[in-house]
Symmetry: C2
Subunit: 309 residues, 2 copies
């Protein structure tokens, strides 16, 4: 990328977030727009509309974006980069094209082969991970386990600043399905899972090695037989699902030092994951997920400038 | 119950099935009606309407029913009987009342405490299990593991003809949720899971001890990275869910002889479970679930007559 003002963008499934930046990365302005799911088929139009004022003022602005904008339903497909990957390999692997005179570069997603040769993918989180590394340089040395909870939780194993491997937990989507569409969610309208004894019980059971399929129904049978109320049943269910996610994530660290897990999420999710990790005898350090995508995009841009890419 | 013609009924969540029987159990006529979910609040009316012709011909007919008719949303609540339980304890535990001059008895559900003191319940399946024992008297000796797959799969450990313990797998409902409401079901309209290599791979992974939450997303990533088609992804997903159910069920037999699992289900489900059990190194014997509820009700009636209950 060339020097001067530029646009950084995080275009995910649900939201478009754009930053107009000065050459040194200072944010001059922000804009938002519809996610890839809503804008699919007309991403160029949406982008040009959202950035019209900036381009009128500055002329064509080089643009660096991450997220689902590079998926098959995005703007231009950016192939997955296989692990291990670091900021330099992502900067080298940018997909570049031109739209209305604007040079656009899209960050590749990451692919990996996890335990038993299973494939896994992420798109967008690789840039957030670079943002974490930018704000926490001490994580660029040694092994660290990062967890980005959400609809599809991403657990990434860092080794000396590279993403060595990662795994996806179907955590947020599974909980939403069970709550909204299953018999286990009955009577929980308006309730939110709480971190407390029922949540902890769910985590303990999920960590016990019993098959999740044989644990879920307890969210109902404990109400029928043990007088558990709907609030506690919901918290128990959350504990089961988050506990299963933690069990899967910690398995990636087998044989490595018991360093605390770095949790990148909202305060509520950080609290839940810290509680679940604590049941597993592990610490968790919470980081606000705020503008990590922007921080990661700035790292990638710096790498392109440094490497003359 | 007294001698003479009688009505046997299996009134579940979705269906009412009624049989008019001669004193020796011969079926004289059959009738059907709406399940408890659709009929809730007016079960007496539905019952009297469905049996009107029979009662007009024979006078008030003693009636023995099992299933959700005894639940909190049923007709009259029949408390759960704790395990261990056999035909005699169920016959002793009938809930009796009179409606429009008709003596009605409802079979209790079963409750248990499984591993780690978790509560579990069944309602209706206890009677089907008695039906299995009536048709397979050799199962009334020693330990046997029965599996009744379905929305909520029930795994029952028999010991000398008693239900010693049981566990519920959230299997059918979980698969339906994932298929109908999650990103993993995309593109699978009109497809059915098949027993083949993709199914077997799912079962193997589910039996590997990896957290289900970290396996589910592979139904998508294998399509994105490995060119797996939607048909195979659906079969893989089915293998994950059924494999998790089998892992949970077989854990109940730890330390007991490796006898084949008795599978009570439709031919398609029997095939899937046999394939999954085979991956786990276990045999499975299929039994048609046909009129097992009726056979179980006849056993309970015989016990009431023999025991003068």
């Amino acid at each position: 990328m060339r020097r001067g003002p530029f646009i950084a963008g995080d275009w995910g499934t649900s939201n478009l977030r754009l930053w107009l930046c000065a050459d040194d990365g200072t944010v001059l302005d922000r804009a938002e727009g519809p996610g890839v799911a809503a804008a699919t088929g007309r991403l160029e139009t949406v982008f040009l509309y959202a950035t019209g004022t900036w381009r009128a003022a500055h002329g064509p602005l080089p643009t660096l974006m991450c997220g689902m904008v590079g998926s098959t339903i995005g703007w231009v497909e950016a192939a997955y980069h296989p692990c291990p990957a670091d900021v330099r390999s992502l900067a080298t692997g940018l997909t570049r094209f031109t739209a209305a005179g604007t040079e656009i570069a899209i960050v590749p997603g990451l692919s990996t082969r996890t335990a038993l040769d299973a494939p896994d993918v992420m798109r967008g989180e690789e840039t957030q991970i670079l943002g974490v590394l930018a704000s926490r340089p001490e994580l660029a040395e040694g092994h660290h386990l990062l967890c980005l909870p959400g609809t599809h939780a991403k657990w990434a194993l860092l080794n000396d600043g590279r993403v060595e491997n990662f795994q996806t937990g179907f955590t947020g989507e599974l909980f939403a399905l069970l709550r909204q569409h299953s018999v286990l969610g009955r009577g929980t309208d308006g309730l939110q899972p709480q971190v407390g004894p029922a949540f902890t019980l769910g985590v303990e059971r999920a960590l016990s090695g019993i098959s999740l399929s044989h644990l879920l129904f307890q969210a109902r049978s404990r109400q029928l037989l043990d007088g558990m109320n709907a609030q506690d049943a919901l918290s128990f269910l959350s504990g089961l699902v988050i506990g299963g996610d933690v069990a899967g994530g910690l398995a990636m660290m087998a044989g490595l030092p018991d360093t605390p897990v770095i949790l990148v999420a909202s305060p509520a999710l950080i609290q839940s994951y810290q509680a679940a990790l604590s049941v597993a005898g592990r610490g968790g350090i919470g980081l606000d997920g705020g503008d990590l995508a922007l921080a990661g995009l700035l790292s990638i841009r710096a790498a392109t400038l440094a490497g003359n890419l």
